[in-house]
Symmetry: C2
Subunit: 444 residues, 2 copies
């Protein structure tokens, strides 16, 4: 009879050979990239409430059924329905010269009045500086030239330090009578793509139009302001329609021993309307789909149920995550693990894990190293898996290399050519491996 330690080693050796098989199949077939190419080419942009988003919901369901997954279904939600309308127009006039500025409306913004606004522009560096400028903003356009802190190694930290400006600029300036705001794009890239993204309005404050400025346009505008009076002309055409019906999409491999213990892998299906949502977050959706395709394709029968979810409306509402969590709470099933990929389809470097699980999963690290994972870090909660913590799920998030993410984020350049097929697949392999490990060994 084998001693328990030998049994344990035997189990581990089997798991290592399972992960090897996932690797060989994944790196040979590169299924995530094939699916992402299809999604970005044949569906395209997928802003909540848009025809693209509706098409994407059908696309995911069809793919999951074609893979032979069970219980393929839509989880309905009502979503905000913001539309950009026609291409924005912006220019600045300084010392008699008028030049174009590269802009796009921020998501959820109102439009400028018909015919646009034309006013002197003043520059502030932050929301805090706006408060000190105060009444000087009356009747003017305020340009928020908040830069990422380039000295931070991690670009997500730099984003975290700047994105509050994008969200809050409009009301911060309109409080003092500003007629519109322009916000420097949330990026470290030295190009002129404007980066959209969600903004919001404070109750009781006049709603004014908010646009993002490409980084080079922001630099030109700032330089002009430092040389004298600058007038901006700005016209946007966006509007928010009534909430629209939409859905997240799920499908699964039903567990053989504990079918009511659910392991969820996912990303968000909606994207901004610019570009094709390749890194954000077609990558996460297709990685999660690929993880189930690999496990299913190897003919494995997991002990626990492994499910893929493509969440709707992460970008401007989070309605899909909420409706999915509500469904989960009423399902009679227990969500034991929920892993999200929403940081781009770059080479994996780490996996964030709920604090209380870091020790539990540590023995799995060596199994993930072939896919680039060097550490488990405390974390794991992201926008869409976060609500499942209340259901008792251990949260996991994929943390890929981050230097290039904000070069493309929310822009027209978030397209498939920025995604490397092997790097994308490595993320799918991390997800497949963790789902399989959690299914077979449990994560308690």
């Amino acid at each position: 009879m084998l001693a328990p330690i030998a049994l344990l080693l035997a189990a581990r050796s089997d798991l290592k050979s399972d992960i090897d098989r996932l690797r060989v199949k994944g790196l040979t077939e590169l299924g995530a990239h094939r699916m992402l190419t299809d999604l970005t080419t044949n569906v395209g942009a997928r802003l909540s409430g848009s025809p693209g988003a509706a098409k994407a919901v059908v696309w995911v369901g069809d793919k999951l059924r074609a893979m032979g997954l069970r219980n393929v279904r839509e989880v309905p939600c009502m979503v905000p329905h913001w539309v950009r309308g026609q291409q924005e127009r912006a220019s600045m006039t300084s010392q008699g010269n008028t030049t174009k500025l590269s802009v796009c409306a921020l998501g959820m913004s109102v439009a400028t009045p018909s015919g646009g606004v034309k006013a002197q522009v003043i520059e502030v560096g932050s929301l805090e500086e706006m408060a000190t400028v105060g009444e000087k903003a009356r009747g003017k356009v305020v340009f928020f030239n908040k830069r990422f802190d380039a000295t931070l190694s991690n670009t997500f930290e730099a984003y975290g330090g700047a994105v509050g400006t994008r969200f809050g600029a409009a009301s911060a300036a309109a409080k003092y009578g500003a007629v519109a705001v322009m916000v420097r794009s949330m990026t470290l890239a030295n190009d002129d793509f404007p980066h959209t993204g969600a903004m919001g309005y404070e109750d009781g404050v006049n709603k004014v139009a908010a646009v993002a400025l490409g980084a080079q346009s922001a630099d030109r505008l700032s330089e002009a302001i430092h040389h004298g009076r600058v007038t901006v002309k700005l016209e946007t055409f966006c509007k928010t329609l009534p909430d629209a019906p939409s859905a997240s999409v799920a499908g699964e491999i039903v567990g053989t021993e504990k079918p009511n213990e659910v392991i969820v892998l996912g990303g968000h299906l909606d994207s901004w309307d610019l570009g094709r949502g390749a890194h954000d977050d077609g990558a996460g959706v297709t990685q999660a789909m690929e993880a189930l395709r690999l496990i299913k394709g190897l003919g494995w029968k997991p002990k626990r149920t492994i499910r893929v979810v493509a969440w709707m409306n992460e970008e401007n509402g989070g309605r899909g995550a909420k409706s999915y969590a509500d469904m989960a709470a009423q399902s009679g099933q227990k969500h034991v693990m929920a892993m999200e990929s929403d940081s781009g389809g770059f080479m994996p470097r780490a996996v964030g894990v709920s604090k209380e699980k870091v020790e539990r999963v540590a023995p799995w690290l060596d199994l993930l190293r072939p896919f680039g994972v060097e550490q488990f870090r405390e974390g794991g909660a992201d926008a869409d898996n976060g609500p499942l913590e209340a259901e008792g799920a251990a949260l996991f998030s994929l943390e890929p290399e981050n230097q290039r993410y904000f070069d493309y984020h929310h822009t027209a350049s978030d397209t498939i050519d920025k995604v490397n097929a092997r790097e994308l697949e490595m993320g799918a392999l991390v997800m497949a491996s963790l789902a399989w490990l959690c299914s077979e060994e449990g994560v308690d």
Copy 2:
């Protein structure tokens, strides 16, 4: 009086603040990318013996002098002088249809006879298979369709398993009377850029022309061969001229306490003639230059001499590395550390270190984590720093993320647009940090 442990901690805290200052300066100024843009735009390709290489030698010297480095000098060497001549031509004819093939001559190959060769093509998978095919190759073109092993996580391992075919195909086939060889490009990318690179001839074997085939052309050719008889027409115009005078270039910050203990950082200045040698290895050269620019710019006075070397002729001879090592042996100075960057300007992940130094440097790892370095790995020897091991130098090599390197390697697409400024700078910061640590703390 402080206890020794407190002194040690104090020293470490100072070093941490030094590395922080390097990070802030580097990530703010991004000097490596500015230099690499200049090199790839205003100098361009730099094949040994070419006008571009000569221009590059001057370019580096000028830059090093402009930064205020001391002892800026050329270290002469004679280099092989191979020239491609006009654009190669290749086509295949199968079932009456003739289509173009994307090819380039392999470096050091002879040309086809004037007017080209036209012959039936046969396919083999490897050098080993060539030996079994034997006399069937007589009078034919042999197509070596050796693929990278895609299931390996590390693309350098995949390259290592395939590149022997590129080097040895011509003689392996000519032994049996083949008239030319075509070798599948050394890449995992699914595109049609042919990848050049060095090949060689065995003494006493007839020299036949060798070309690389783009991956998609290789797939088309292979498919055609599997459907029936295929004829290839191939014409190349390359030749090897007499060895030419060239040089590596060095400059330094002279050590204040131990000027005769030398720390070398470098990359290779030559490149293949296709593309602009951005990742291979303009990246390494400009990272090493940037490391010294940062240290010099901060006004620091290192205890030991910190030197940058741009080695000539890594790609097809290694003459620069040899002449530099010969110079080092006769210099009366001791090379204590030699670090090379020649794996592309991607985000750092690890540093290779001479086996006997892995323990010594382990305490420095946390200082390098902000630049992406997650581990010191046994290794450190690369083509150009390797010869300095005999001088007693501890060898270090930068190991960046490797998934995309062989997408561009030795092709027309190895251009500056494939390099991210922050990722490149992170490598420069690893080099600057290690040079500084070795200078101030020693590496014995």
